[in-house]
Amino acid sequence: MSTTSTLSRRKKMMAWTGLVMLMAIFLLPMTGYISTGFVTAAEEQVREQQTNPRSDYWRLVRNNTEGYSAVTGLEANELIQGSGQVWRQLRNGPIATYGSWLIGFTLAVLAVFYMWHGNIKMTHPRTGQTIERWTLNERRMHWLTAGLFVILGITGLSLFYGRLVLIPIFGHNGFSAYAEIAKWTHNILGPAFMVALLSMIVTWFKSNLLNKVDMEWFKAFGGMIGDKHPSAEKLNGGEKMWYWALATMGVALCLTGLVLDFPNFDQEREIIQVSHLIHVVTALILIAFAFGHIYIGTIGTEGALEGMVTGHVDTAWAEQHHDLWAKSVIKKESDSH
């Protein structure tokens, strides 16, 4: 025999062995059927009917299945709703914890920044000439929204953290009396805030569209780091961020607030729970944002508050903080003369 034929026979043997092994892998586990025979679909059905009726009942209950109840009322025909526990754990756990961290951290950062930079002074002396930054209606709108935001923020935080922070101070009776007023105030002023916020979003939409100038502004961290002040239009990148935070999270805050505010529309608990979580999370983020906004607009920057109070800003301030806008306004004025 030649060596080549031995080799080919060996290969053949190996191929056959492999095939038999493969077949065995598929066939051996099926040998069980030799004793039982194949289960037909009808037999399966019989088996399904043999479940424990008490387990079936419990399963229906746990799946929030609606049954029948002679007592009429919203969701009275459901025995157990499990989502409430999830809501409780998220609200009392991570949201309460990280929410307080977020607000504490924001305040700490602002305090450190103030100690580091202090009040950002105007780089050039006032020219005495002013240009109009906000019209009377814009200012009314701003302060209405701002006032409502502060009231809603305080009352809302009181309902969220009051038990932890205010009950030890005022006692149960004192805090309860305040919380009752806070609840009503929050519920009544909420829709008013929504109207004010929406009017602001619509009015300032155009001047808040992001563009290349803002990208440069972000890259320079808004001039917070270093000496150079990046260019800005009427609204700088930071202000636009605040606008878009309100236009997105603020709207979510208002819509979820409506779900919570009007139980007469028979919304179910699961919708209420989700709305409540969105409401609290967006509120906490916006409150943190608002601290930054208030800081920069008041003690953080010299001359910034004048614009929103009197409507006019000094040209020196405008050229320092909103150079592109200042140029265009001054050019327009000189053109019209």
Partner: protein
């Protein structure tokens, strides 16, 4: 010390709603408020079962945990009660409760909630026992009279049991043994930790 518990035996409940009616009458609860209700699954079908449910007086009560004004308290008997003078009607306890126990009389427009009302295990409230204020706000205090909740006392099939948890368990265990079935202590895993 006794640990009060409710247990509804779904093998016995015939959905007569006597517990609901007895409770409503005993405590003179406001219109639209029902402290107890009977829910039937698979109504009209084979295997139909009913359960009477009210506040289960949970060990780690979710209502207690989320209440912004901290108006809930657990008595020495393990009964979860609340102080209506503190309650602000925010609705959080309803959001958290697995059994849908908290009820609110409507107060003002847009479905605004009044002070929460729920099953007291016939144990009144924080006011002085048998006082007029207690009766007005929370209903009868049968526990202070040495009696058990009326819903269970009234139950014609003795499906609904109320009382010391150990005794309730003993009664139910005996039943289950006679029935040669599997125990189904409805709601206990959710409600009780001890």
């Amino acid at each position: 010390m006794a640990r009060m518990k409710f247990l509804c035996d779904e093998e016995r409940c015939i959905e007569c709603n006597a517990c609901v009616t007895a409770c409503k009458n005993e405590h003179e609860v406001p219109w639209g408020v029902n402290r107890r209700r009977v829910v039937t699954m698979d109504d009209g079908l084979p295997g139909e079962k009913s359960i009477s449910v009210a506040c289960m007086h949970c060990t780690d009560a979710p209502c207690q945990a989320v209440c912004p004004v901290d108006c809930f308290y657990t008595t020495d008997d393990g009964v979860v009660l609340h102080d209506k003078d503190l309650c602000i009607g925010c609705g959080y306890c309803l959001y958290a409760c697995p059994f849908g126990a908290p009820q609110y009389p409507q107060e003002g427009a847009f479905g605004a909630r009044g002070k929460m009302d729920k099953c007291t295990f016939c144990a009144g409230g924080p006011e002085e026992d048998h006082s007029h204020e207690e009766l007005e706000k929370y209903g009868r205090n049968r526990l202070a009279e040495g009696k058990l909740p009326l819903c269970a006392e009234m139950c014609s099939t003795k499906s609904l049991l109320a009382g010391d948890g150990d005794m309730v368990s003993d009664i139910f265990r005996n039943r289950v043994i006679r029935r040669e079935g599997v125990a189904n202590t409805w709601g206990w895993n959710t409600a009780y930790k001890d």
